[in-house]
Amino acid sequence: MQGPLIDTLVRQGIGRRTFLKYCATLASMMALPPAAGRAMADALAAARRPSVIWLPFQECTGCTESMTRSHSPTIEGMIFDMISLDYHETLMAAAGQQAEEALHAAMKENSGKYLLIVDGSIPLGIDGAYSCIAGRTNVDLLKEAAAGAAAIVAMGTCAAFGGIPKAKPNPTGAVAVSDIVKDKPIVNVPGCPPIPVVMTGVLAHYLTFGSLPELDDKLRPTAFYGETIHDRCYRRPFYDQGKFAKTFDDEGARKGWCLFELGCKGPVTHNACATTKWNGGTSWPVESGHGCLGCSEPDFWDAGGFYKALSMPADPLKMGAAAAVAGAAAGVAVSFANRGKKRAAQVTHETTTLADLEK
Protein backbone atom coordinates (compact mmCIF):
# COMPACT_ATOMS: atom_id res chain seq x y z
CA MET A 1 0.00 0.00 0.00
CA GLN A 2 1.26 3.42 -0.93
CA GLY A 3 0.45 6.96 0.22
CA PRO A 4 -2.66 8.95 -0.64
CA LEU A 5 -3.70 8.87 -4.26
CA ILE A 6 -3.26 12.55 -4.80
CA ASP A 7 0.47 12.27 -4.12
CA THR A 8 0.79 9.72 -6.86
CA LEU A 9 -1.14 11.94 -9.21
CA VAL A 10 0.77 15.09 -8.38
CA ARG A 11 3.98 13.20 -8.91
CA GLN A 12 2.72 12.34 -12.38
CA GLY A 13 2.09 16.02 -13.04
CA ILE A 14 -1.69 15.85 -12.69
CA GLY A 15 -2.78 18.97 -10.83
CA ARG A 16 -5.57 19.39 -8.38
CA ARG A 17 -7.60 21.35 -10.88
CA THR A 18 -7.49 18.42 -13.27
CA PHE A 19 -8.54 16.12 -10.49
CA LEU A 20 -11.33 18.41 -9.38
CA LYS A 21 -12.58 18.68 -12.92
CA TYR A 22 -12.47 14.92 -13.28
CA CYS A 23 -14.47 14.42 -10.12
CA ALA A 24 -17.03 17.02 -11.15
CA THR A 25 -17.46 15.27 -14.49
CA LEU A 26 -17.70 11.85 -12.87
CA ALA A 27 -20.27 13.06 -10.37
CA SER A 28 -22.29 14.52 -13.21
CA MET A 29 -22.17 11.25 -15.11
CA MET A 30 -23.23 9.31 -12.04
CA ALA A 31 -26.14 11.68 -11.60
CA LEU A 32 -24.86 12.73 -8.20
CA PRO A 33 -25.54 16.29 -7.06
CA PRO A 34 -22.83 18.79 -8.09
CA ALA A 35 -21.68 19.14 -4.47
CA ALA A 36 -20.76 15.44 -4.49
CA GLY A 37 -18.02 16.19 -7.01
CA ARG A 38 -16.16 18.20 -4.41
CA ALA A 39 -16.71 15.54 -1.74
CA MET A 40 -15.52 12.91 -4.14
CA ALA A 41 -12.40 14.90 -4.94
CA ASP A 42 -11.55 15.23 -1.26
CA ALA A 43 -12.18 11.59 -0.49
CA LEU A 44 -10.40 10.25 -3.53
CA ALA A 45 -7.41 12.46 -2.94
CA ALA A 46 -6.95 10.92 0.47
CA ALA A 47 -7.86 7.34 -0.58
CA ARG A 48 -5.36 4.53 -0.62
CA ARG A 49 -5.10 2.26 -3.59
CA PRO A 50 -7.06 -0.95 -3.10
CA SER A 51 -5.87 -4.24 -4.45
CA VAL A 52 -7.78 -5.40 -7.50
CA ILE A 53 -7.75 -8.87 -8.97
CA TRP A 54 -9.16 -9.27 -12.45
CA LEU A 55 -10.18 -12.77 -13.56
CA PRO A 56 -11.03 -13.46 -17.18
CA PHE A 57 -13.27 -16.43 -18.02
CA GLN A 58 -15.23 -17.18 -21.19
CA GLU A 59 -14.66 -13.77 -22.73
CA CYS A 60 -13.38 -12.04 -25.82
CA THR A 61 -11.19 -9.39 -24.12
CA GLY A 62 -13.55 -6.77 -25.50
CA CYS A 63 -14.25 -5.49 -22.00
CA THR A 64 -10.55 -5.01 -21.27
CA GLU A 65 -10.14 -3.37 -24.66
CA SER A 66 -12.96 -1.02 -23.89
CA MET A 67 -11.39 -0.07 -20.58
CA THR A 68 -7.86 0.40 -21.75
CA ARG A 69 -8.21 1.68 -25.29
CA SER A 70 -10.12 4.69 -24.20
CA HIS A 71 -9.58 7.85 -26.21
CA SER A 72 -8.90 9.96 -23.19
CA PRO A 73 -6.20 7.93 -21.55
CA THR A 74 -5.69 10.13 -18.56
CA ILE A 75 -9.21 9.79 -17.20
CA GLU A 76 -9.43 6.02 -17.32
CA GLY A 77 -5.71 5.77 -16.90
CA MET A 78 -6.10 7.56 -13.65
CA ILE A 79 -8.33 4.84 -12.40
CA PHE A 80 -5.61 2.35 -12.99
CA ASP A 81 -3.45 4.63 -11.01
CA MET A 82 -5.99 4.64 -8.25
CA ILE A 83 -5.92 0.88 -7.93
CA SER A 84 -3.29 -1.73 -7.54
CA LEU A 85 -4.09 -4.13 -10.33
CA ASP A 86 -2.37 -7.19 -8.96
CA TYR A 87 -3.55 -9.75 -11.44
CA HIS A 88 -4.83 -9.27 -14.98
CA GLU A 89 -3.72 -11.88 -17.44
CA THR A 90 -3.95 -9.70 -20.46
CA LEU A 91 -2.30 -6.63 -19.01
CA MET A 92 0.30 -8.11 -16.71
CA ALA A 93 3.84 -8.76 -17.84
CA ALA A 94 4.16 -12.00 -15.92
CA ALA A 95 3.00 -15.30 -17.31
CA GLY A 96 2.69 -18.94 -16.30
CA GLN A 97 4.06 -19.85 -12.90
CA GLN A 98 4.89 -16.25 -11.98
CA ALA A 99 1.42 -15.06 -12.80
CA GLU A 100 -0.16 -17.70 -10.64
CA GLU A 101 2.14 -16.79 -7.82
CA ALA A 102 1.22 -13.14 -8.13
CA LEU A 103 -2.44 -14.06 -7.97
CA HIS A 104 -2.08 -16.17 -4.87
CA ALA A 105 0.17 -13.64 -3.21
CA ALA A 106 -2.34 -10.85 -3.80
CA MET A 107 -5.22 -12.99 -2.58
CA LYS A 108 -3.38 -13.94 0.57
CA GLU A 109 -2.00 -10.48 1.33
CA ASN A 110 -5.27 -8.63 0.86
CA SER A 111 -7.64 -11.34 1.96
CA GLY A 112 -11.07 -9.92 2.67
CA LYS A 113 -10.16 -6.51 1.26
CA TYR A 114 -9.50 -6.88 -2.45
CA LEU A 115 -11.91 -6.06 -5.18
CA LEU A 116 -12.53 -8.92 -7.61
CA ILE A 117 -13.35 -8.01 -11.19
CA VAL A 118 -14.61 -10.77 -13.44
CA ASP A 119 -15.16 -10.67 -17.15
CA GLY A 120 -16.56 -13.54 -19.13
CA SER A 121 -19.13 -16.15 -18.22
CA ILE A 122 -18.45 -19.35 -16.33
CA PRO A 123 -19.06 -22.67 -18.12
CA LEU A 124 -20.59 -25.43 -16.01
CA GLY A 125 -20.92 -28.07 -18.77
CA ILE A 126 -18.87 -31.25 -18.43
CA ASP A 127 -17.77 -30.18 -14.96
CA GLY A 128 -16.50 -26.83 -16.16
CA ALA A 129 -13.95 -28.34 -18.50
CA TYR A 130 -14.73 -25.90 -21.32
CA SER A 131 -12.52 -23.21 -19.82
CA CYS A 132 -9.55 -23.81 -17.52
CA ILE A 133 -6.61 -21.71 -16.40
CA ALA A 134 -3.52 -23.41 -15.08
CA GLY A 135 -5.40 -26.66 -15.09
CA ARG A 136 -8.25 -25.40 -12.93
CA THR A 137 -11.78 -24.74 -14.03
CA ASN A 138 -13.22 -21.24 -14.08
CA VAL A 139 -15.84 -22.11 -11.52
CA ASP A 140 -13.15 -23.33 -9.14
CA LEU A 141 -11.09 -20.20 -9.61
CA LEU A 142 -14.09 -17.97 -9.14
CA LYS A 143 -15.13 -19.66 -5.93
CA GLU A 144 -11.64 -19.44 -4.52
CA ALA A 145 -11.13 -15.79 -5.49
CA ALA A 146 -14.61 -14.79 -4.39
CA ALA A 147 -14.06 -16.23 -0.92
CA GLY A 148 -11.54 -13.55 -0.04
CA ALA A 149 -13.05 -10.64 -1.98
CA ALA A 150 -14.64 -7.60 -0.37
CA ALA A 151 -16.89 -7.21 -3.39
CA ILE A 152 -17.16 -8.48 -6.93
CA VAL A 153 -17.66 -6.50 -10.08
CA ALA A 154 -19.03 -8.54 -12.99
CA MET A 155 -17.68 -6.65 -15.97
CA GLY A 156 -19.60 -7.00 -19.19
CA THR A 157 -22.75 -8.87 -20.11
CA CYS A 158 -21.02 -12.28 -20.05
CA ALA A 159 -20.00 -12.02 -16.43
CA ALA A 160 -23.18 -10.23 -15.45
CA PHE A 161 -25.79 -12.31 -17.30
CA GLY A 162 -23.99 -15.07 -19.19
CA GLY A 163 -23.86 -13.06 -22.41
CA ILE A 164 -23.07 -14.53 -25.80
CA PRO A 165 -21.64 -17.82 -24.47
CA LYS A 166 -25.01 -18.38 -22.83
CA ALA A 167 -26.90 -17.73 -26.09
CA LYS A 168 -29.04 -20.63 -27.20
CA PRO A 169 -28.26 -23.47 -27.24
CA ASN A 170 -25.62 -22.55 -24.66
CA PRO A 171 -23.24 -25.42 -25.50
CA THR A 172 -20.89 -24.82 -22.58
CA GLY A 173 -23.58 -24.40 -19.94
CA ALA A 174 -22.40 -20.83 -19.33
CA VAL A 175 -23.76 -18.95 -16.31
CA ALA A 176 -23.25 -15.54 -14.74
CA VAL A 177 -21.13 -14.74 -11.70
CA SER A 178 -24.25 -14.15 -9.65
CA ASP A 179 -25.41 -17.69 -10.42
CA ILE A 180 -22.39 -19.06 -8.57
CA VAL A 181 -21.46 -16.54 -5.91
CA LYS A 182 -24.27 -15.89 -3.50
CA ASP A 183 -22.58 -14.58 -0.39
CA LYS A 184 -20.67 -11.51 -1.62
CA PRO A 185 -21.80 -8.10 -2.79
CA ILE A 186 -21.88 -8.15 -6.57
CA VAL A 187 -22.11 -5.25 -8.97
CA ASN A 188 -23.09 -6.07 -12.52
CA VAL A 189 -21.68 -3.74 -15.14
CA PRO A 190 -23.27 -5.23 -18.24
CA GLY A 191 -22.69 -4.10 -21.78
CA CYS A 192 -20.94 -5.67 -24.68
CA PRO A 193 -18.64 -4.02 -23.89
CA PRO A 194 -19.62 -1.86 -20.91
CA ILE A 195 -19.07 1.88 -20.98
CA PRO A 196 -15.65 2.63 -19.45
CA VAL A 197 -16.89 5.46 -17.28
CA VAL A 198 -19.35 3.11 -15.60
CA MET A 199 -16.43 1.05 -14.43
CA THR A 200 -14.52 4.04 -13.19
CA GLY A 201 -17.66 5.42 -11.61
CA VAL A 202 -18.21 2.23 -9.64
CA LEU A 203 -14.61 2.23 -8.51
CA ALA A 204 -14.69 5.91 -7.62
CA HIS A 205 -17.83 5.39 -5.63
CA TYR A 206 -16.30 2.47 -3.81
CA LEU A 207 -13.19 4.47 -3.03
CA THR A 208 -15.04 7.62 -2.07
CA PHE A 209 -17.82 6.26 0.03
CA GLY A 210 -16.40 2.85 0.93
CA SER A 211 -19.52 1.20 -0.36
CA LEU A 212 -21.06 0.03 -3.59
CA PRO A 213 -23.37 2.40 -5.43
CA GLU A 214 -27.13 1.94 -5.38
CA LEU A 215 -28.10 -1.10 -7.47
CA ASP A 216 -31.25 -2.12 -9.30
CA ASP A 217 -32.93 -5.53 -9.20
CA LYS A 218 -30.38 -6.86 -11.69
CA LEU A 219 -27.55 -5.55 -9.48
CA ARG A 220 -26.68 -2.76 -11.91
CA PRO A 221 -25.73 0.71 -10.64
CA THR A 222 -28.90 2.73 -11.00
CA ALA A 223 -26.91 5.87 -11.73
CA PHE A 224 -26.04 4.41 -15.13
CA TYR A 225 -28.70 1.78 -15.69
CA GLY A 226 -31.65 3.45 -14.06
CA GLU A 227 -33.20 4.59 -17.30
CA THR A 228 -33.56 3.09 -20.72
CA ILE A 229 -31.71 4.18 -23.81
CA HIS A 230 -35.11 5.23 -25.14
CA ASP A 231 -35.77 7.49 -22.15
CA ARG A 232 -32.70 9.58 -22.79
CA CYS A 233 -32.44 9.17 -26.56
CA TYR A 234 -32.13 12.40 -28.49
CA ARG A 235 -34.31 10.82 -31.21
CA ARG A 236 -37.14 10.24 -28.72
CA PRO A 237 -39.19 13.21 -30.02
CA PHE A 238 -39.49 11.46 -33.39
CA TYR A 239 -40.82 8.34 -31.72
CA ASP A 240 -43.43 10.45 -29.98
CA GLN A 241 -44.38 12.07 -33.28
CA GLY A 242 -44.53 8.69 -35.00
CA LYS A 243 -41.69 9.54 -37.37
CA PHE A 244 -39.73 6.41 -38.11
CA ALA A 245 -36.93 5.47 -40.48
CA LYS A 246 -38.17 2.50 -42.48
CA THR A 247 -34.87 1.48 -44.01
CA PHE A 248 -31.30 2.44 -43.31
CA ASP A 249 -31.09 4.66 -46.39
CA ASP A 250 -34.47 6.32 -46.65
CA GLU A 251 -35.51 9.90 -46.09
CA GLY A 252 -36.33 9.20 -42.43
CA ALA A 253 -32.91 7.69 -41.81
CA ARG A 254 -31.25 10.75 -43.36
CA LYS A 255 -33.36 13.06 -41.25
CA GLY A 256 -32.37 11.15 -38.15
CA TRP A 257 -35.82 9.81 -37.28
CA CYS A 258 -36.50 7.12 -34.73
CA LEU A 259 -34.99 3.69 -35.44
CA PHE A 260 -37.67 1.75 -33.56
CA GLU A 261 -38.94 0.06 -36.67
CA LEU A 262 -35.47 -0.95 -37.69
CA GLY A 263 -35.21 -3.00 -34.55
CA CYS A 264 -33.86 -0.54 -32.00
CA LYS A 265 -34.03 -2.13 -28.55
CA GLY A 266 -33.67 1.23 -26.83
CA PRO A 267 -37.08 1.06 -25.12
CA VAL A 268 -36.15 -2.11 -23.23
CA THR A 269 -32.43 -1.53 -22.70
CA HIS A 270 -31.12 0.00 -19.52
CA ASN A 271 -27.83 1.71 -20.13
CA ALA A 272 -26.24 5.14 -20.23
CA CYS A 273 -25.03 5.23 -23.85
CA ALA A 274 -27.45 8.00 -24.74
CA THR A 275 -25.90 10.34 -22.18
CA THR A 276 -22.27 9.27 -21.82
CA LYS A 277 -21.82 8.24 -25.45
CA TRP A 278 -18.77 6.34 -26.60
CA ASN A 279 -15.17 7.02 -27.54
CA GLY A 280 -14.77 10.00 -25.32
CA GLY A 281 -18.19 11.38 -26.06
CA THR A 282 -17.82 11.20 -29.82
CA SER A 283 -20.97 9.32 -30.70
CA TRP A 284 -23.01 6.25 -29.86
CA PRO A 285 -24.85 3.58 -31.87
CA VAL A 286 -28.13 5.43 -32.36
CA GLU A 287 -26.35 8.65 -33.25
CA SER A 288 -24.38 6.75 -35.86
CA GLY A 289 -27.67 5.60 -37.39
CA HIS A 290 -28.04 2.08 -36.02
CA GLY A 291 -30.56 0.88 -33.49
CA CYS A 292 -29.57 -0.27 -30.04
CA LEU A 293 -28.91 -4.02 -29.84
CA GLY A 294 -29.81 -4.16 -26.17
CA CYS A 295 -26.37 -5.54 -25.27
CA SER A 296 -26.62 -4.69 -21.60
CA GLU A 297 -29.76 -6.76 -21.07
CA PRO A 298 -29.89 -10.44 -20.15
CA ASP A 299 -30.17 -12.78 -23.13
CA PHE A 300 -30.10 -9.94 -25.63
CA TRP A 301 -28.73 -12.36 -28.16
CA ASP A 302 -31.91 -14.41 -28.13
CA ALA A 303 -34.35 -11.51 -27.98
CA GLY A 304 -35.83 -12.03 -31.41
CA GLY A 305 -33.45 -10.46 -33.92
CA PHE A 306 -31.57 -7.18 -33.98
CA TYR A 307 -33.52 -5.78 -36.92
CA LYS A 308 -36.94 -6.93 -35.80
CA ALA A 309 -38.90 -4.11 -34.24
CA LEU A 310 -39.84 -4.64 -30.64
CA SER A 311 -43.60 -4.83 -30.92
CA MET A 312 -43.82 -6.96 -34.00
CA PRO A 313 -44.78 -10.58 -33.77
CA ALA A 314 -42.81 -13.30 -35.47
CA ASP A 315 -45.13 -14.61 -38.19
CA PRO A 316 -48.76 -13.93 -37.53
CA LEU A 317 -50.16 -14.08 -41.05
CA LYS A 318 -49.53 -17.73 -41.58
CA MET A 319 -51.05 -18.45 -38.20
CA GLY A 320 -53.96 -16.14 -38.99
CA ALA A 321 -54.76 -17.89 -42.24
CA ALA A 322 -54.55 -21.31 -40.63
CA ALA A 323 -56.73 -20.09 -37.78
CA ALA A 324 -59.30 -18.67 -40.19
CA VAL A 325 -59.45 -22.01 -41.99
CA ALA A 326 -59.76 -23.89 -38.72
CA GLY A 327 -62.42 -21.44 -37.52
CA ALA A 328 -64.33 -21.81 -40.76
CA ALA A 329 -64.13 -25.58 -40.45
CA ALA A 330 -65.40 -25.48 -36.88
CA GLY A 331 -68.10 -23.00 -37.85
CA VAL A 332 -69.27 -25.04 -40.82
CA ALA A 333 -69.31 -28.20 -38.73
CA VAL A 334 -71.45 -26.53 -36.08
CA SER A 335 -73.64 -25.02 -38.74
CA PHE A 336 -74.30 -28.44 -40.28
CA ALA A 337 -75.10 -29.87 -36.87
CA ASN A 338 -77.34 -26.88 -36.07
CA ARG A 339 -79.24 -27.00 -39.31
CA GLY A 340 -79.70 -30.73 -38.94
CA LYS A 341 -81.03 -30.28 -35.45
CA LYS A 342 -83.37 -27.50 -36.49
CA ARG A 343 -84.64 -29.41 -39.50
CA ALA A 344 -85.23 -32.46 -37.32
CA ALA A 345 -87.18 -30.30 -34.90
CA GLN A 346 -89.28 -28.88 -37.71
CA VAL A 347 -89.89 -32.27 -39.30
CA THR A 348 -91.03 -33.76 -36.01
CA HIS A 349 -93.30 -30.80 -35.35
CA GLU A 350 -96.59 -31.97 -33.92
CA THR A 351 -99.40 -29.65 -34.79
CA THR A 352 -100.85 -28.12 -31.67
CA THR A 353 -104.51 -28.38 -30.99
CA LEU A 354 -106.53 -26.66 -28.33
CA ALA A 355 -106.06 -29.65 -26.04
CA ASP A 356 -102.33 -29.08 -26.11
CA LEU A 357 -102.67 -25.76 -24.38
CA GLU A 358 -103.52 -27.47 -21.13
CA LYS A 359 -100.81 -28.61 -18.85
Binding site: R16, R17, K21, A24, S28, H71, G256, G280
Partner: protein, 132 residues
Protein backbone atom coordinates in the same frame (compact mmCIF):
# COMPACT_ATOMS: atom_id res chain seq x y z
CA UNK B 1 -16.04 9.75 -46.42
CA UNK B 2 -15.10 12.12 -43.60
CA UNK B 3 -17.67 12.08 -40.83
CA UNK B 4 -18.62 15.73 -41.20
CA UNK B 5 -19.91 15.00 -44.69
CA UNK B 6 -22.50 12.51 -43.52
CA UNK B 7 -25.61 14.67 -43.89
CA UNK B 8 -27.33 13.86 -40.62
CA UNK B 9 -28.75 16.92 -38.98
CA UNK B 10 -31.21 16.85 -36.20
CA UNK B 11 -33.34 19.93 -36.08
CA UNK B 12 -34.58 20.26 -32.53
CA UNK B 13 -37.00 22.81 -31.20
CA UNK B 14 -36.54 24.21 -27.68
CA UNK B 15 -38.55 22.07 -25.28
CA UNK B 16 -39.39 24.96 -22.98
CA UNK B 17 -37.61 23.28 -20.08
CA UNK B 18 -35.01 26.05 -19.88
CA UNK B 19 -37.41 28.76 -18.84
CA UNK B 20 -37.93 27.63 -15.21
CA UNK B 21 -34.17 27.28 -14.89
CA UNK B 22 -33.80 31.06 -15.09
CA UNK B 23 -35.99 31.43 -12.02
CA UNK B 24 -33.82 28.88 -10.26
CA UNK B 25 -30.67 30.83 -11.14
CA UNK B 26 -32.26 34.02 -9.80
CA UNK B 27 -33.01 32.25 -6.50
CA UNK B 28 -29.46 30.97 -6.25
CA UNK B 29 -28.08 34.47 -6.85
CA UNK B 30 -30.24 35.77 -4.03
CA UNK B 31 -28.87 33.07 -1.77
CA UNK B 32 -25.31 33.90 -2.78
CA UNK B 33 -25.87 37.51 -1.79
CA UNK B 34 -27.61 36.72 1.47
CA UNK B 35 -25.46 33.84 2.77
CA UNK B 36 -22.38 33.92 0.56
CA UNK B 37 -23.05 30.28 -0.29
CA UNK B 38 -22.17 29.32 -3.90
CA UNK B 39 -24.15 26.73 -5.84
CA UNK B 40 -23.92 24.70 -9.01
CA UNK B 41 -26.49 23.41 -11.49
CA UNK B 42 -25.50 20.32 -13.46
CA UNK B 43 -26.93 20.97 -16.93
CA UNK B 44 -26.42 17.43 -18.19
CA UNK B 45 -28.61 16.09 -15.38
CA UNK B 46 -31.57 18.08 -16.72
CA UNK B 47 -33.76 17.24 -19.69
CA UNK B 48 -32.38 19.97 -21.92
CA UNK B 49 -31.78 19.55 -25.61
CA UNK B 50 -29.12 21.51 -27.54
CA UNK B 51 -31.69 24.10 -28.52
CA UNK B 52 -32.57 24.63 -24.85
CA UNK B 53 -28.92 25.13 -23.99
CA UNK B 54 -28.55 27.64 -26.82
CA UNK B 55 -31.61 29.48 -25.65
CA UNK B 56 -30.30 29.58 -22.08
CA UNK B 57 -26.86 30.73 -23.11
CA UNK B 58 -28.28 33.47 -25.31
CA UNK B 59 -30.56 34.71 -22.54
CA UNK B 60 -27.81 34.79 -19.94
CA UNK B 61 -25.52 36.63 -22.37
CA UNK B 62 -21.82 37.26 -22.31
CA UNK B 63 -20.05 39.02 -19.45
CA UNK B 64 -16.68 40.56 -18.94
CA UNK B 65 -14.69 37.62 -17.63
CA UNK B 66 -13.71 34.65 -19.72
CA UNK B 67 -11.29 32.03 -18.32
CA UNK B 68 -9.69 28.93 -19.66
CA UNK B 69 -8.19 26.11 -17.63
CA UNK B 70 -6.03 23.54 -19.32
CA UNK B 71 -6.63 20.45 -17.26
CA UNK B 72 -6.95 17.18 -19.08
CA UNK B 73 -8.65 19.04 -21.89
CA UNK B 74 -9.80 22.61 -21.95
CA UNK B 75 -12.35 23.97 -19.53
CA UNK B 76 -13.95 27.35 -20.08
CA UNK B 77 -15.43 29.36 -17.24
CA UNK B 78 -17.21 32.42 -18.57
CA UNK B 79 -19.08 34.95 -16.55
CA UNK B 80 -22.43 35.68 -18.14
CA UNK B 81 -24.01 39.10 -18.46
CA UNK B 82 -25.53 38.38 -15.07
CA UNK B 83 -22.57 38.82 -12.82
CA UNK B 84 -22.00 35.98 -10.42
CA UNK B 85 -23.47 33.52 -12.89
CA UNK B 86 -20.79 31.46 -14.61
CA UNK B 87 -21.17 29.16 -17.56
CA UNK B 88 -18.76 26.28 -17.03
CA UNK B 89 -17.93 23.84 -19.82
CA UNK B 90 -15.57 20.92 -19.36
CA UNK B 91 -14.05 19.39 -22.46
CA UNK B 92 -11.92 16.34 -22.79
CA UNK B 93 -8.63 16.26 -24.66
CA UNK B 94 -10.41 15.76 -27.96
CA UNK B 95 -12.46 18.83 -27.39
CA UNK B 96 -15.81 17.09 -26.77
CA UNK B 97 -17.99 18.49 -24.04
CA UNK B 98 -18.04 16.11 -21.07
CA UNK B 99 -19.93 18.21 -18.59
CA UNK B 100 -21.66 21.59 -18.40
CA UNK B 101 -22.59 23.55 -15.30
CA UNK B 102 -24.04 26.86 -14.33
CA UNK B 103 -22.11 27.99 -11.28
CA UNK B 104 -23.43 30.77 -9.10
CA UNK B 105 -20.40 32.08 -7.22
CA UNK B 106 -18.16 35.10 -6.74
CA UNK B 107 -15.35 33.05 -8.27
CA UNK B 108 -15.80 29.51 -9.64
CA UNK B 109 -14.35 26.76 -7.48
CA UNK B 110 -12.01 25.51 -10.14
CA UNK B 111 -10.24 28.85 -10.52
CA UNK B 112 -9.13 29.02 -6.93
CA UNK B 113 -5.68 27.63 -6.20
CA UNK B 114 -5.52 24.97 -3.48
CA UNK B 115 -3.45 25.95 -0.39
CA UNK B 116 -1.30 22.87 -0.81
CA UNK B 117 -0.58 23.81 -4.41
CA UNK B 118 0.26 27.33 -3.30
CA UNK B 119 2.53 25.85 -0.68
CA UNK B 120 4.21 23.75 -3.33
CA UNK B 121 4.55 26.84 -5.49
CA UNK B 122 6.05 28.82 -2.67
CA UNK B 123 8.60 26.09 -2.00
CA UNK B 124 9.43 25.98 -5.66
CA UNK B 125 9.85 29.75 -5.67
CA UNK B 126 12.14 29.62 -2.66
CA UNK B 127 14.32 27.07 -4.37
CA UNK B 128 14.35 29.33 -7.39
CA UNK B 129 15.36 32.37 -5.30
CA UNK B 130 18.05 30.45 -3.47
CA UNK B 131 19.51 29.42 -6.76
CA UNK B 132 19.73 33.00 -8.01
Amino acid sequence: MPPELIPIQIAVEPSGNARPLLHEVAELLKRLLETGEPSTIDLSALPLNPADLDWLQTRLGEGEVSCQVQANGESTLDETACRGVWWVTHRNERGSVVAQFIEVAFVPELLKAHPQDIEAGREQLEVLISEL
